[in-house]
Amino acid sequence: MTTTYVLNRGLMIMLLIICALWLIIPFTMAVLWSLVDPSQPWTPENLLPPAMSFYRWEFAWNNSLLQPALLNSYLLAPSAAALTLLLAMPTAFALGRYQFTGRELAKLLVLLPLVVPAFVTAIFFTSLLYQIGLAQYRFWAILFAHAILFLPFAIRILTVSFEQVRQDHIDAARDMGARPWARFRAAYWPALKPGVLASLLIVFIQSIEEFAIAYIVGQPGFVTIPTLLYSSLGQDFNRPNAAVLSLILAVPNVLLMLLLERFLKSANPALASGKG
């Protein structure tokens, strides 16, 4: 009794420390930095910035490329999420629903691209984009690249989802006279839904955060939030401006992650029907 109690407490404390290190401290710092008023610099001897205002936020909104960057990023991400989902569906269906020799190997191979460092993939993938002449249509080139690069996540998630679909539900629906669409709704969709949402959200977040390809293909002129952020890290490095951009990049992602967590939790219990 007591040992598990001590263990639980220890784990709770560790979790809190990790939370603090990873989330609370960086976010608090970012918020504080973004509020630094240019009239007085924030020097190390002060615990809080001596003067605070929304000047940096207003400045970033009015005088940088933030508006087109937001537009580009938030157009790219949902499009990439949707396109990836479409592209992943047939492969995931085959991997999840058909028995064939080498199936397990195929599932593993699908994940392989993820071990190559993103920057390496980006450098060579963009050269491909130039070769096929797609690179001049920047938005479409980046969209295409994102959809292809994040395919492994989507395929893997959806494969598991398709495996969750129970053959007896499909059979029962057919037996009751259900046509393909009704069959999909009754037997497939409840099992697929969490995976589809998870895949959409993960690709969305990956795309929002992706820098390398957006930078190489987009340069110069086509900005996304990450490329804008990285360029603010360049010559005229300005921590308060970077803080504003980081928050704009990270806050929606954290919210989306929490949303994802809720979807995955709420979707599961209904799936397990009592027997069989």
């Binding site: 057919r174 037996d175 009592g274």
Partner: protein
């Protein structure tokens, strides 16, 4: 006209024959059972009837129409699945009317049908629950109700009771039979439980290795098994290899067996000179009576309440007896007799 006719049906999976030249007829309103051990092809046959599999050769007629090539959604059959296969995200009510929705039955008619089915399967208190909030027996009734709601021409059961405990199984057995009679449904019921088959069926089809071994009323299967397999699979039987030595008179034969010479009285003549014969344990009579009086040593005795099971060593073979009362214990000698008409000729092996 038969509700279902199966004519010389063959189903092969890459060279493996799961259903081997099966022919059978099921009459309208009849309750028949497909009985056989695991892997004998019962589910495969059911899937052929419901349309989930297409036969390698042969014909299936439902209501006089050839249905080979017709997909399951267009066949007038409904399955009660072993796993129940209830839609987990739909309420009990939505599960029950699922089939009617697919058919586009008008709402008023649907509600009337729902009310009727709910009464039959006794689920009135649970209509708004999800399937995983129900007990196994209740889920089973939803599965039954869902199949009944579409008023199928034929209802198919694939071991529907195997997930229930023994007591509930007996109760649901009676309910299923009652509903089937009330609706006048034609039913095909798959099971590997011989007691279930004997208790429920109008007619039993015994399957073994994809082939139909024997069909008939439960009593006929039990008292006149045709093969060693059927005798052994349905109820328990003492099977002996016999050699016919003499026909004593019309319908009476003299045979030699490992437990000694016996006299058999049978309406059907033996099919060969040496063949297996069998007798049921409960036909043994205590004491020495008639021509087949035997004495053996009890090797095992198990009191079962309404009878006592004895395993008796006789001429190096083990024979099983069921007697109402006995005073002897293990190691004692026991006298018993088998009446000539309780010995049954089986078909020669091979």
């Amino acid at each position: 006209m038969a509700a279902i006719s199966i004519i010389d049906l063959v189903m092969q999976f890459d060279g493996f024959t799961a259903v081997d030249h099966v022919s059978l007829d099921v009459g309208e309103g009849e309750f028949v059972t497909l009985l056989g051990p695991s892997g004998c092809g019962k589910t495969t046959l059911l899937n052929l009837i419901s349309g989930f599999l297409q036969p390698t050769s042969g014909r299936i007629e439902i209501g006089g129409k050839d249905v080979v090539g017709v997909p399951p959604e267009a066949r007038d059959t409904a399955i009660c699945f072993q796993s129940y296969a209830l839609f987990p995200h739909l309420s009990v009510q939505e599960n029950l009317i699922f089939g009617l929705r697919q058919k586009g039955t008008p709402r008023t008619q649907r509600n009337a049908r729902l009310e009727e089915i709910v009464g039959q399967v006794d689920l009135g208190a649970h209509l708004d629950k999800l399937p995983n909030q129900l007990s196994g027996g209740q889920q089973q009734r939803v599965a039954l109700g869902r199949a009944l709601a579409v008023r199928p021409f034929v209802i198919l059961f694939d071991e529907p009771l195997s997930n229930l405990d023994a007591k509930l199984r007996e109760q649901v057995r009676i309910e299923i039979r009652k509903i089937q009679r009330d609706f006048g449904l034609t039913a095909i019921y798959v099971t590997h439980d011989q007691a279930e088959a004997l208790a429920m069926s109008d007619r039993i089809f015994i399957m073994n290795n994809g082939r139909l071994e024997q069909s008939g009323a439960p009593e006929e299967i039990y008292y006149a098994p045709r093969t060693r397999f059927v005798a052994d699979f349905v109820g328990s039987a003492n099977i002996l290899d016999a050699e016919i030595t003499e026909e004593l008179s019309q319908g009476r034969w003299h045979v030699v067996t490992p437990i000694g010479p016996l006299e058999i009285q049978s309406k059907s003549a033996p099919r060969a000179k040496s063949l297996p014969i069998c007798w049921r344990p409960e036909t043994a009579i205590a004491g020495k009576e008639g021509p087949n009086a035997l004495t053996g040593t009890i090797t095992h005795r198990a009191f079962q309440g309404h009878f006592t099971d004895l395993i008796v060593d006789l001429g190096g073979t083990s024979q099983r007896l069921q007697v109402l009362r006995n005073a002897e214990g293990e190691g004692d000698k026991v006298d018993f007799s088998i009446m000539p008409h309780d010995l049954i000729f089986l078909e020669p092996d091979g």
